[in-house]
């Protein structure tokens, strides 16, 4: 609705331009004149009672829709089974319950907000109000009184004269926070040497994570990728994740002629090599293995290791080569570890250097 629709007699009389806030005029002491607030303009709702009624109805309607949406939320929570799926274009097949709950709660909240905004903009008072700043400093009398009170209090407590009390109080206040610091010890047991050891040790068989069977050298084909856990570590164990976070192992097989690193060849068995699956940068599981380039890539920060060359870092932020596990074959013909990793697995820590 534009101003043309407003009947002439309904327009307010000329405004009192200086109604709100103090206004100053430029003179010698104050060279900057304060222009004051611009004249207040009325809204259609201030002038036309029918428009105000309309706004009121719109706001009330929004609040009512919100109430209905909340009722709808409760109703869908009660009635829609949680495994029912519906097709909604363009989202696809989604859970009917999630969709209904989101839609109704969204509508309920949106209508409260929209109603409040419409109410504030069209019906609540929009008269501009100026609030003058007050001086930051306190009055001199108030200051003097506070200082006098403070001095009197210090004198009455005799803190300056009874030095023993003063010093012991300072001591007590200084020591109290220490109890909080000591409690930090409860954050967990000290790591000890656990960062340097894993669940691997001499004679432990390499057990295939997929089939839970010990691996034979003939199982591992050139170009394949297999993950293994140490014999005796079971998923039902309470600390399984903690143990595997250090012991996770990936096994690949290369043509022995392709192995460039002498120690890697020595620690392998017929081209089968076993490396830690934990990135030496920040410990992400790293197994994006490219079988033609023999590179393994970390998904977190793109550290790349060359598994045909002692898992040397060829790109990215990792600081150490991946630790290799020395493997051999047991008497029954299964792949077995010939010891733990020689160096700590995973990211560097400060004692490691």
């Amino acid at each position: 609705m534009s101003s043309q629709d407003i009947p002439e007699e309904n327009l307010p009389a000329e405004q009192d331009h200086h109604a709100h806030g103090a206004v100053s005029v430029a003179d010698e002491k104050n060279p900057f004149a304060d222009p004051g607030l611009p004249p207040h303009e009325h809204r259609i709702q201030d002038i036309d009672e029918r428009a105000a009624k309309r706004s009121e109805r719109v706001v009330a309607m929004l609040f009512t829709v919100s109430m209905l949406a909340t009722v709808g939320f409760i109703a869908s929570y009660v009635t829609i089974p949680k495994d029912k799926a519906i097709f909604v274009f363009p989202i696809g097949h989604i859970s009917a319950l999630n969709f209904a709950l989101g839609l109704t709660l969204g509508a309920a909240l949106f209508c409260i907000g929209a109603g409040a905004v419409h109410w504030a903009r069209t019906l609540m008072s929009d008269v501009e109000v100026a609030d003058e700043r007050h001086a930051i400093a306190a009055e001199p009398e108030v200051k003097a009184k506070v200082l006098a009170d403070f001095k009197q209090g210090a004198k009455e407590s005799a803190i300056g004269r009874r030095k023993l009390i003063r010093n012991t109080m300072f001591g007590a206040l200084t020591l109290v926070p220490l109890s909080g610091v000591v409690l930090l010890r409860d954050l967990g047991p000290l790591p000890g040497t656990s960062l340097r050891h894993t669940a691997w040790s001499k004679g432990k068989l390499l057990v295939n994570m997929n089939t839970n069977e010990p691996l034979r050298p003939s199982d591992v084909a050139v170009g394949s990728l297999t993950f293994a856990k140490p014999e005796g570590v079971e998923e039902s164990q309470e600390d399984f994740q903690n143990v595997m976070a250090k012991a996770a192992l990936m096994i690949i097989r290369l043509q022995p002629d392709n192995i460039k690193d002498k120690r890697e060849l020595e620690w392998s068995h017929e081209g089968i090599v076993a490396y830690s699956k934990i990135c030496t940068h920040v410990g992400c599981p790293i197994s994006l293995y490219e079988q033609q380039t023999h590179h393994v890539l970390c998904p977190c920060h793109q550290s790349t290791f060359d598994l045909s060359d002692g898992a040397r870092v060829i790109f990215g932020p990792a600081g150490h080569a991946l630790p290799q596990l020395r493997i051999g074959v047991s008497e029954e013909g299964y792949l077995q570890a010939l010891g733990d990793f020689e160096e700590p697995v995973g990211p560097a820590f400060w004692e490691r250097g």
């Binding site: 609705m1 009325h42 084909a221």
Partner: protein, 270 residues
């Protein structure tokens, strides 16, 4: 009858009669022609290999060598097995237009399944390798979707992402999205390890494991997948979700705030 004879001199009458005659002859031939299965199996096998060899000479030999021994442009195909051929040719990756570039990508397959089978038979005759899986190996019957999910996250998710949406590798290489890939081709890829993908032979990832993985992919990454949370934004994890929330979610809020503030409520528009 009067209606028909009235139209016998219509210019299209001859065409209609000809079409009818052709359809009749074709139908009669199809009904009475001798069944091709009558031939002896052994002869057909060697014939298939012979046909495959001819196809190989035209489409593959320039890179992989006349006897499949490989060259500087393509690896040896001795011992890769029929499954590798069925995957590479069936997904259109082979024959590749060029051996340049980070990796050979999926494109339109130009061979019929019969021709692929002939090629596969020829390659399989060069050296033993994995055979093309039968439908009961990759079909959904008896598969454990939950176990498949665990196996997928252990063996595949590092490259193909949690629900098989694919992901980036080094130097322009990537692991492709697995949606819409024929279950047979997924099975063959696991068996043979095409290009830079490591292989997962039956000795380390059993036939049942592979079936479970395929059933998992079918349940989480196919056109009939139910996504309880709504828009999955490609299923590639927190990056796309965060981007969507920050740009579209926050953007919409800012746009509404600007729109509310820009519209004056005054009766007299300035």
């Amino acid at each position: 009858m009067k209606k028909l004879s009235a139209r016998r001199r219509h210019p299209l009458a001859a065409v209609v009669v000809l079409l009818l005659a052709l359809a009749c002859t074709g139908g009669l031939y199809a009904a009475f022609a001798p069944a091709s299965k009558a031939q002896a199996d052994e002869t057909s096998q060697s014939l298939t290999i012979e046909e495959g060899k001819k196809l190989y000479a035209v489409g593959c030999a320039s890179c992989h060598g006349k006897g499949g021994q490989g060259s500087s442009d393509g690896p040896s195909l001795v011992g890769v097995g029929a499954a590798a051929v069925d995957f590479q040719v069936g997904t259109g990756r082979m024959p590749a237009a060029t051996s340049q570039g980070p990796q050979v990508v999926k494109k339109k397959n130009i061979y019929t399944q019969a021709q692929i089978d002939q090629l596969a038979a020829f390659i399989a005759s060069l050296g033993a390798g994995p055979a093309v899986p039968t439908k009961d190996l990759y079909g959904p019957d008896g598969a454990d979707i939950a176990a498949g999910g665990e196996l997928f996250r252990t063996n595949c998710a590092q490259c193909h992402n949690f629900v098989g949406s694919g992901g980036a590798l080094t130097k322009g290489k990537f692991a492709p999205d697995l949606q819409g890939v024929d279950p047979k081709h997924i099975y063959e890829a696991m068996q043979t390890g095409p290009q830079n993908m490591p292989s997962f032979p039956d000795t380390t990832l059993s036939e049942k494991n592979k079936k479970d993985i395929i059933a998992y992919l079918d349940s989480v990454n196919s056109s009939k997948t139910v996504n309880p949370g709504g828009l999955n934004l490609g299923g590639i994890g927190p990056v796309s979700e965060g981007l969507f929330a920050w740009i579209f979610g926050l953007g919409a809020l800012i746009a509404v705030a600007v729109w509310v503030a820009a519209r004056t409520a005054k009766a007299k528009k300035s």
